[in-house]
Assembly symmetry: C2
Homo-oligomer: 417 residues x 2
């Protein structure tokens, strides 16, 4: 499969892009190539696609099911009871719907943690997108559950080739406060032995951190350090409540930190210490979190929220300029997963977007990235390409109607309880 994009705006220049076998093969003016498919890039700009570095895709099933509530009330009385009835098939359709939303809003790679791993993984394969996926390891201090969860992770690891190459298996450790030490240590060793990444929630709320300190005498990052868990294979989501010492440890050990601004704002979990993290050289990416707390998986929304939250909370309008927010959502997130994407360059994976420069929110086009971050919504995305495959052209995604129909059947059953 080859793809030839003609006369498209890249930064300030109108160029052609030739894509072969999923990779950007050539970029330049007036290129001459034969291709299976030619796209007219006139009045369009090309940018790298987004990497959504932390989500729970199937939670589309809970979109706007319960909002504006206190976190624990929300979890205990709304989210957890709803989740109890979710089947693997529900997860499949919930994830298919989320992936349509991602494709429409420019994401071609995401990092997920959820129950019914096979439902999520099959949805990724059937959608043509690519992802890092983990199951949600939670044992709540129950050693029988620990054994069961370990067995599940081992089973998924041994079956990981069923979903490759679209899916990269990772170990999902929900959080320090929901997984026993023996589970965390098992994950540390299994990850080391099999060269796996570990995906976890970390220091999301003040309450969680305060209780952890009370219980163990250590702050969560210090605790992870004492278990020898820190490293560049560790992907930690949220990380709002951290001391300067903890930030230095995250930096020194190359831990990948994932910022989820909308979810943090909506649940009032805290404000991500972006400037302190940046100054310390921490590796950072951006993410939507799940739809239950966002309420979408739209990275165009997320880049605006990230930039504005930092300016407002620090009372400094120069913090996180548009290009930094965009970088977090593209190359920043991509680098956490060692993905060869996040920029438009020869040799990079052809994960890219064409923006419609006639979209009213992008006019005038003095500066494209600030326009995208501060003005646009995801409706300005005309074409989404994932590893050289066109997943959306002119706003249209394959099988959207069928997926919505099946999704609605699942949602209607679940909401009745």
């Amino acid at each position: 499969m080859s793809l030839f994009i003609k006369n498209v705006l890249l930064n300030e220049n109108v160029i052609d892009i030739f894509i072969q076998n999923g990779t950007i093969n050539a970029i330049g003016e007036n290129l001459d190539f034969q291709a299976d498919k030619i796209i007219n890039g006139t009045n369009k700009a090309v940018i790298p696609s987004f990497v959504n570095a932390h989500t729970h895709s199937a939670m589309t099933l809970m979109r706007s099911y319960a909002d504006d509530m206190e976190l624990h009330d929300w979890l205990e009385n709304k989210i957890w009871p709803f989740e109890k009835n979710i089947t693997e098939e529900d997860v499949y359709w919930g994830t298919r719907l989320a992936i349509i939303e991602m494709i429409k809003s420019g994401t071609t790679h995401f990092n997920d943690m959820y129950w019914h791993y096979d439902g999520t993984a099959q949805a990724v394969v059937d959608s043509g997108i690519h992802a890092h996926l983990s199951s949600a390891f939670i044992d709540l201090g129950d050693s029988e559950l620990t054994k069961k969860q370990i067995a599940e992770q081992v089973d998924l690891y041994h079956r990981k080739n069923e979903y490759e190459p679209n899916v990269t298996f990772t170990l999902g450790i929900h959080s320090l406060y929901t997984v026993t030490n023996s589970g965390v240590e098992w994950a540390r060793d299994f990850a080391k032995d099999h060269n796996l990444k570990i995906h976890m929630h970390l220091s999301e709320t003040k309450k969680e951190v305060d209780e952890w300190v009370k219980q163990t005498g250590m702050r969560p990052v210090d605790y992870l350090d004492s278990l020898d868990m820190l490293g560049n294979h560790l992907l930690a989501a949220h990380v709002n409540w951290v001391s300067d010492d903890e930030i230095q440890k995250l930096s020194d050990n190359g831990v990948g930190v994932i910022h989820c601004p909308t979810s943090n704002m909506k649940l009032a979990s805290g404000v991500f210490p972006y400037k302190r993290m940046k100054d310390a050289g921490v590796r950072m990416g951006l993410a939507t979190d799940g739809v239950a707390s966002n309420n979408n998986v739209d990275m165009v929304d997320e880049i605006k929220m990230a930039a504005l939250l930092q300016k407002s909370s620090s009372q400094d309008p120069t913090i996180m300029p548009a290009k930094e927010a965009f970088h977090l959502a593209t190359k920043g997130s991509a680098s956490l997963f060692d993905l060869n994407m996040g920029e438009i360059a020869v040799g990079k994976s052809a994960d890219l977007l064409l923006l419609d420069l006639n979209n009213i929110h992008l006019i005038p086009n003095y500066h494209l990235i600030p326009n995208l971050v501060y003005s646009a919504h995801s409706g300005c995305i005309h074409t989404t390409v994932s590893k050289g495959e066109i997943l959306m052209e002119n706003g249209s995604v394959n099988d959207e109607e069928i997926i919505i129909e099946q999704f609605n059947k699942a949602a209607n059953r679940l909401v009745k309880g």
Copy 2:
């Protein structure tokens, strides 16, 4: 002109709506009417359109021209030099472009303050939308300029019928710190004599308030009170830095307060004290501010930003639930201008939107307003109706291409300086 919308979702029920002479005439199941135009409302929901209560429309000419800068640096070195070259014709095309964006994002009434009043007013008339408009009265302590500005306002007042009924003329007093006392007092008296509203910026930044206190010994609202300026004809934008006493005065006098969350976040101006205002019973509306500091005029973006900012800044997820954010943008804003709009009810002006329930961001549809506030972007708006006239159907607005072409000519000339 009559309009009949069949089988549309209103709250939880599928109903028909009959509109005649710009007013909602009947709402019910299986209505029987003859109409000039019938709209099939299947898979659509009807909601009131938005009122954008404070903007500077023609600043679309400066969209993403300069971002991520300190406020005074931004104004003095970027915005003001750019504005010096703007002509009345530029303002006309800048406003036409803004109005296309408003129509696409569901706004049918806006409140504007800008130079070259006639350019803005003519754009409103030609677009079929309706607005409150004011010129920008700024004299910077120069008494010759005061006289000139007063003469301009008097002239505009006497010519106001040129643009009626689409345009309602208001007096624009830029702010306390840019207009002399004699100008402010003239506006107070002229507004009283001619039953006009006064539109001004108020207590936007801490610096501005601190300097005012230093200069006069009074906080800005107290100062306005001492001039007998407070009343329900006064429309004050921003109002971030106010004491409890000032809030009580705003409430007691029925002053209309206009919240601009995105602009406040982007410029790091401060956080609007929503809860204190609400508890005191202050009349409130919502707005985008101008595109130079937003960077769009999209009220669907604004309702999300409003709700999330309050939750995050107060660390309380229950503050400003989705319905309150939506109310601010519809009935709240509308009531500041005594508009008979902002809700779907018989006898109300037919200013309304049809949302596409097949839009991926609105699925599942457990709760429409939370979906709209937290998940949707304005691309979910299928039809925009202003006083019974269809301004957009299926995403298409009249004359969009011609307006973009003329706008780009103006923008290209201006950006070259």
